[in-house]
């Protein structure tokens, strides 16, 4: 066998290895959900058919799915950067909430031309997201408050703060519905326009650009290498001359900007305002985490998985409309997928690993 041939085979095996685990996880979870649906007295094929049609069935639904996937992609990227660099932070939700809130305010109140307003709104969201992310980084670095606790608590704080502001300070002044807790509707010229005629807005394109940027950053720059090294082996990174403090804050900033922008896209392109609880209840950040996991932290894979997960929720709402099954079944599916992704179910390239190890051991001996 020539060397090229062997490389090809290796790549193919690696790809199969990457795909097999998520595939098995998705199939098992869909099967378990099918049992639940049957117990509830609904035909599985009717329910899943409605789900599939409601997710990717026609251009309207497809648009909806892609629109929904936008914040999920950004949340997934945020998780990916932090986790791959060794910081198990889950603050994407809080950053996204504040990002969406600030973007909505800037786009509504600032008296400048439309395009400038969009840019400023996105800038504000990035800054706020990064600042909130830095806060948890600072708590970790200065006070050793573990990321898990600080980020989870900060998520709740962000949500309640935004809720307070929309309730009492910046409540929609010209809203017809007095009970709707939301900020004012953003003027048409300050919204992210749709790419085609459907509901997919430019935020989706931006998200894809971010995916490309992220891939470049982590594959081709020394920063990406250093951050990955820090995640794999912090001691080695320190030995190699990486400043862990600088690395921590850089990673936190990029992660926060990503999540904050995700919130901004949702506010500027989808809801055109900040509605109380709009990020908290939809769980975009959590879906983003699941997407990153499904793709084993590969940025492009994260985008694909995000679209699938978004399809799961838009399909879920369609299923809820036409059957008796509530859309929370999708959260259950998501949970089971995550659980199954946490362990190695199958390993196609196992033999390769073993021989490699043996070779290494032999060399050492």
């Amino acid at each position: 066998m020539t060397r090229e041939n062997r490389n090809w085979k290796k790549t193919l095996l690696a790809i199969a290895d990457g795909f097999s685990q998520p595939l098995v996880a998705v199939i098992i979870s869909l099967f378990l959900a099918a049992i639940v649906i049957t117990i509830c007295g609904e035909n599985v094929f009717t329910a899943y058919g409605a789900m599939l049609r409601g997710a990717f069935g026609n251009s309207f639904y497809l648009n909806d799915t892609l629109k929904r996937s936008t914040p999920i992609i950004m949340g997934g990227l945020a998780v990916r950067i932090a986790w791959r660099s060794g910081y198990e932070a889950m603050g994407g939700e809080g950053q996204m909430i504040l990002g969406a809130f600030c973007a909505a305010l800037v786009a509504y109140y600032l008296p400048v031309p439309g395009v400038v307003r969009i840019v400023l709104a996105m800038l504000a969201a990035s800054v706020v997201g990064a600042a909130y992310s830095i806060l948890s980084g600072w708590l970790y670095e200065r006070f050793q408050v573990t990321f898990i606790i600080s980020t989870l608590m900060l998520n709740y704080i962000a949500n309640y703060f935004a809720s307070y502001m929309t309730n009492y300070v910046v409540k929609d002044p010209d809203g017809l519905d007095i009970n709707a807790v939301q900020t004012g509707k953003i003027a048409v010229e300050a919204r992210l326009q749709s790419i085609f005629s459907g509901s997919v807005h430019w935020g989706f394109a931006f998200a894809l650009i971010c995916v490309a940027l992220m891939t470049f950053l982590f594959k081709k720059t020394s920063f990406g290498y250093k951050s990955r090294m820090g995640g794999l082996n912090p001691k080695f990174a320190l030995y190699g001359g990486v400043n862990p403090r600088k690395m921590l804050y850089l990673v936190m900033i990029i992660s926060g900007v990503s999540a904050g922008l995700g919130g901004a896209f949702e506010a500027l392109g989808s809801k055109y305002r900040y509605i109380d609880q709009m990020i908290f209840t939809t769980g975009y950040a959590w879906s983003g985490m699941v997407a990153a996991l499904l793709a084993n932290f590969n940025p492009i894979g994260t985008a694909v998985a995000s679209i699938l997960l978004a399809g799961l929720s838009t399909g879920g709402s369609a299923m809820q409309r036409s059957t008796i099954i509530p859309l929370e079944v999708c959260n259950m599916i998501e949970g089971i997928i995550t659980l199954l992704m946490s362990v190695r179910l199958i390993r196609i390239t196992q033999r390769g690993y073993k021989t490699k190890r043996k070779a290494k051991g032999g060399a050492r001996a």
Binding site: N331, G335, L339, M341, V343
Partner: protein, 308 residues
């Protein structure tokens, strides 16, 4: 609102009622952390067991059965968590988050299938009025005016929680099994070289301690109030993690740290009658959690510096 002894007693009473569920969950976290199983599935476990306590009460009207089912469900979920982390070598963070996501979806799903709502089900169900756990009134205490207010409306499980803290302490620190469990937490391979079956000990101990979350779940839905709302656990599981972090896994320390967090939670609900806005009050427990951990770590670091 006047600041009288009676009022302070009311605050203390609502603190106690906030502390006990938190204490039970913290105790489970203590045991888990002592055997080095990182459990963030506490939140989801609490939510699901609370739901099953309510559901069993709704269908059977048997309070003993409700408590039993709730405890068993909590043990089952904790077992699954431990099995995935210990036996299958899953990443604990991911396993925990998966269980939390699933639990929120599952309870909301069941809520809308059984009760046809996604919000709150109170004691007045279509199936008739539900009763919660019986409130104890202790003969000696109920005659003293202020003490009576402090211990008002507490259930058996509330008292049991404090007893369990002591029991956990005795088991973990005064018995052979406890020594073995702590040995696992300190050094797995050393423990296994002594012939301790590490994985088995880890799974069984976490599963049993998971039962305490079931009791906490009963307190949430059948305790001082009888109702279930979507996401009723409201991050108590995460707060318990923080409380466990503060007491470094010591069951008696858990009494103190969960009291601290229970007090902030009670403070938030007591202050609701004042002019302060509810949304900002809701932040108090979360802000104080972070603050308490930061302060604690600073003090601990100073101490270790002074020692060295």
């Amino acid at each position: 609102m006047t600041l009288s002894a009676e009022y302070l007693a009311t605050v203390l009473n609502s603190t106690l009622r906030e502390v006990t569920p938190l204490l039970l969950v913290t105790l489970c976290a203590c045991v888990c952390s002592k055997v080095s199983v990182f459990n963030i599935a506490l939140e989801g476990t609490l939510l699901t067991s609370a739901f099953f306590a309510f559901l069993t009460q709704y269908f059977t009207r048997n309070i003993y059965l409700s408590v039993l089912v709730s405890v068993l469900v909590a043990m089952l979920i904790t077992f699954i968590m431990a099995f995935f982390i210990v036996h299958l070598n899953g990443q604990s963070m991911i396993v925990g988050m998966a269980i939390n996501t699933f639990s929120l979806g599952f309870t909301t799903f069941m809520l809308s299938m059984v009760f046809n709502t996604k919000g709150t089900v109170n004691a007045m169900t279509p199936n008739g009025l539900l009763t919660g756990l019986t409130k104890l009134s202790i003969p000696g205490l109920r005659d003293i005016p202020i003490v009576r207010t402090v211990f008002n409306n507490l259930t058996v499980i509330d008292y049991l929680a404090f007893a369990l803290a002591i029991v956990t302490y005795i088991v973990m620190y005064k018995t052979v099994i406890g020594f073995r469990l702590r040995a696992i937490g300190i050094n797995k391979s050393a423990a296994s070289s002594l012939g301790i079956r590490v994985k088995r000990y880890q799974i069984i101990s976490t599963t049993i301690s998971g039962g305490m979350i079931g009791l906490a779940g009963c307190l949430l839905t059948l305790g001082s109030v009888t109702l279930f709302t979507q996401n009723i656990s409201a991050a108590r599981g995460y707060v318990a993690l923080a409380a466990n972090n503060l007491c470094k896994g010591h069951p008696l320390g858990a009494l103190l740290s969960s009291f601290l967090f229970g007090f902030t939670k009670a403070l938030a609900s007591v202050l609701q009658n004042t002019a302060a806005k509810q949304q900002l009050l809701e932040c108090i427990p979360y802000v104080s959690t972070i603050a308490a951990m930061a302060i604690y770590n600073v003090i601990a670091r100073r101490k270790s510096k002074a020692l060295s």
